[in-house]
């Protein structure tokens, strides 16, 4: 009973054992995309969501109208933050392999997104990240020890042992609690921004999801509310080409860019080279000013590549060529900013080596401190009574009883 199906199935470009093929990727030359006024009408800037905003050209020079003209010290800080993020990731990946923690997720190849954006925003802007935005914590200055303690679920864990590793939060630093349920943060960020507008304040909200997560209904809810109320929000889709094993075509990227959904909902959409620190910084500044001045929300699509496995539970060799990342046409964000600084005469291989070494030491020292507060396998351990707190503001009788029952069960 063989049937001939007429259903279209998105086709991967290259599979394990095949040559990486990125011919599907449409790019624009650096400097080629015009930079409109921040309060331009959505209908006049549709092409921003289809072209690719790029600033760094092949000879590492910053060109065109989107060049943010950052000061050299800022560029060096950006490089430092990205490199620290990467070294931290590598060390935490190893810690997971050694059984010190249960799980980890790296952002290899995507460092520019969180770092450049974090730097382009104001400290009071509220961030609603996904799980691959650790660079935001680096930019806002949360000590690595604190992040490590969360990863270790130890006695200094900010989540008191309740969350899977990497699901950080930081109220003081204005970074919202990460959810394991994809895309839920998107409408929440819009609501936060609506509240800021209702209160007459000029803080904005910024949120991130992966392109795979843009399939969830919450993405569409967020887009609708953001555009209806012209909420002061920046909504980011980090298109790293992969959602676990499925490539971006399965999220709807085969026919049109993700950024183009912005104009579809009546809001600005920008497609940016997510591995170009300067371009990411520039479009974020543009979108932040647009939001802050009441000209409306922006959807930004960052075109980048997930260089690492989805998580420590994943094996990408099963679904993509081993050398896919090396062949990614938009390169490595750390290397590109480094080369730009070298081209400016403001950096060198020696300084880079020295910086890497300094950051390695910093990560190692932080780790040594963090494990003193316990690991998954070694004490000290969190007090188990904490399990029953914060379900409600006041602990109800039923939970008190259960807490007593657990104490009895454990003989304490």
């Amino acid at each position: 009973m063989a049937r001939r199906s007429r259903l279209h199935i998105p086709q991967h470009h290259s599979r394990p054992g095949e040559e990486p093929d990125f011919s599907y990727l449409e790019t624009s030359p650096a400097g080629a995309v015009p930079r409109p006024d921040v309060n331009a009408r959505v209908r006049d800037i549709g092409s921003l969501s289809i072209d690719l905003v790029r600033v760094l050209d092949d000879s590492h020079v910053a060109v065109g109208p989107w060049n943010p003209h950052l000061e050299v010290p800022d560029l060096q800080i950006g490089l430092r933050h990205m490199l620290l993020t990467r070294i931290f990731d590598e060390r935490m990946q190893r810690a997971q392999r050694q059984g010190k923690t249960s799980f980890y997720m790296r952002c290899l190849g995507e460092e520019a997104v969180s770092v450049a954006q974090g730097m382009a925003l104001r400290p009071k802007d509220m961030l609603f990240p996904a799980y691959r935005n650790q660079g935001l914590y680096v930019v806002r200055g949360r000590p690595l020890v604190d992040l490590m303690c969360q990863l270790l679920s130890n006695t200094r864990d900010m989540c008191k042992g309740r969350q899977l590793p990497v699901m950080y939060h930081w109220a003081e630093g204005r970074i919202f609690s990460i959810s394991g349920n994809l895309t839920t943060q998107f409408p929440q960020a819009v609501g936060w921004a609506m509240a800021a507008a209702i209160k007459g304040e000029d803080d904005i909200a910024v949120s991130w999801i992966g392109e795979g997560s843009s399939a969830e209904a919450d993405f569409h809810h967020a887009m609708l509310f953001a555009s209806v109320y012209m909420a002061p929000v920046i909504l980011n889709i980090v298109n790293n080409q992969w959602a676990i094993s499925t490539f971006q075509g399965f999220a709807g990227g085969e026919q049109r860019s993700f950024a183009a959904r912005g104009p579809g909902y009546g809001m600005a959409g920008i497609r940016v080279d997510g591995n170009d620190f300067l371009a990411v910084h520039a479009v974020t500044q543009w979108a932040a000013e647009r939001a802050r001045t009441g000209a409306g929300p922006t959807l930004i699509e960052h075109v980048t590549y997930r260089g690492a496995a989805h998580s420590t539970s994943d094996d990408p060799a099963r679904y993509r060529p081993k050398d896919d990342y090396e062949k990614w046409p938009l390169g490595d964000p750390v290397l590109r900013l480094k080369n730009h600084l070298i081209a400016l005469g403001e950096w060198s291989e020696e300084r880079h080596q020295a910086l890497a070494q300094e950051l390695e030491v910093h990560v190692t020292e932080s780790w040594k401190e963090a494990v003193q507060y316990g690991t998954l396998t070694d004490g000290p351990r969190l007090n188990r009574d904490l399990m029953f707190q914060d379900v409600f503001k006041e602990m109800p009788e039923q939970l008190r009883k259960q807490r007593e029952q657990l104490r009895a069960e454990q003989g304490v």
Binding site: Q163, L164, F250, Q398
Partner: protein, 338 residues
């Protein structure tokens, strides 16, 4: 007979149904080319094609909504929700639509959808990879709710679910995928290859939905459980040396009240165990039903042992999980009462 773990048994059920019925299709996140994050659908797309084993966008509401449409148009969809913790975006489609379609259209429209989803804790998954939300689904009229505890039952019940013209939410206790687990993490893992219930016929067979199974005969007390808790109950009864009759509910909706109540009337005592939170959990329904049917035969109040009424905390996995200690204490209490 071949030995299979639960992953292989489930895979075999789907393989058989894809081969037997050209209307059977599968859809879900990462289930096709990759074969699923737990590898339950491994090889099925290669064998039956991209048009029958579909990778989908990450949108559980759309997966179930589309499955309903496919079902109405003559297909027999098997949808996977990657973790039970991620089923909530699909709940409007499940509760308001899938469960009521037959009723509201007076039988003119219906959709034979099976929704498979891994549930339960014990894999260090934290609060969003450990939940047991089966009770919520039992509270909605119009969907069958099933959870196997062995590879044999997993295969037979999944085939029965796919063939069923009513919608079924099929929970897979993921801690049992590779072997039975009695709640003691310090013991070495036992693979299904050494367990009698790991013997699974290669071919087609069904285990009927709506039938509980007595997994251990006994006379002192009836322990009613499902999924991972079956093995925890066995371990607790063994540790205390109590001659417990242990019943695997297997199907929560419809519920085999007869098998359960016949046993309780015989033993006069009952302990109910599940991993899900206690308050308004499925144990409450079991307890009420047993009390109504068996009141005059009960020698002690019915006991319930369950997960605490908190989210599943990453760092306290084994303090949260209702393991052999907690079950044994509850069992002791039921034995000593009155």
């Amino acid at each position: 007979m071949p030995q299979m773990n639960m992953i292989q048994a489930l895979n075999s059920a789907m393989d058989i149904m894809l081969a037997r019925d050209p209307n059977v299709v599968m859809l879900g996140e990462d289930i096709g080319y990759f074969g699923g994050v737990f590898r339950v659908t491994d090889g099925l797309q290669r064998k039956y094609g991209e048009h029958r084993v579909l990778d989908t966008p990450i949108a559980e509401g759309a997966i179930v909504g589309a499955a309903i449409g496919m079902g109405v148009n003559g297909l027999r969809p098997v949808a996977e929700v990657q973790f039970a913790d991620y089923i909530y975006p699909a709940c409007d489609q499940i509760f308001s639509e899938l469960a009521r379609l037959r009723y509201r259209s007076a039988g003119d429209f219906w959709a034979p959808v099976t929704i498979r989803t891994p549930c339960g804790g014990g894999i260090r998954g934290g609060q969003t990879h450990s939940q047991s939300p089966e009770g919520i689904f039992t509270h909605v009229c119009g969907i069958k709710v099933v959870m196997p505890s062995t590879p044999y039952d997993a295969k037979g019940l999944l085939i029965a679910s796919i063939e069923d013209d009513d919608p079924v939410v099929f929970f897979e206790p993921k801690r049992l995928y590779n072997g039975p687990f009695d709640g003691d993490v310090n013991k070495p893992a036992v693979p299904w290859s050494t367990h009698p219930k790991g013997e699974v016929p290669d071919g087609y067979y069904t285990v009927p939905i709506g039938k509980a199974e007595i997994v251990r005969k006994g006379s002192a007390v009836t322990m009613v459980a499902y999924g991972t808790m079956i093995y925890v109950c066995e371990a607790a009864a063994r540790a205390l040396g109590i001659d417990a009759e242990i019943i695997d509910v297997r199907s929560m909706v419809p519920l085999d009240t007869d098998t359960i109540c016949t046993s309780v009337k015989k033993t006069g005592r009952c302990l109910i165990a599940h991993e899900a939170t206690r308050f308004s959990g499925f144990g409450a329904e079991l307890s009420a039903t047993i009390q109504e049917e068996c009141f005059w035969d009960l020698e002690a109040p019915i006991g319930r042992v369950a997960g605490w009424d908190t989210p599943y905390p990453h760092a306290f996995e084994w303090e949260y999980f209702p393991g052999p200690l907690r079950v044994a204490a509850a069992l002791q209490a039921v034995m000593e009462a009155a």
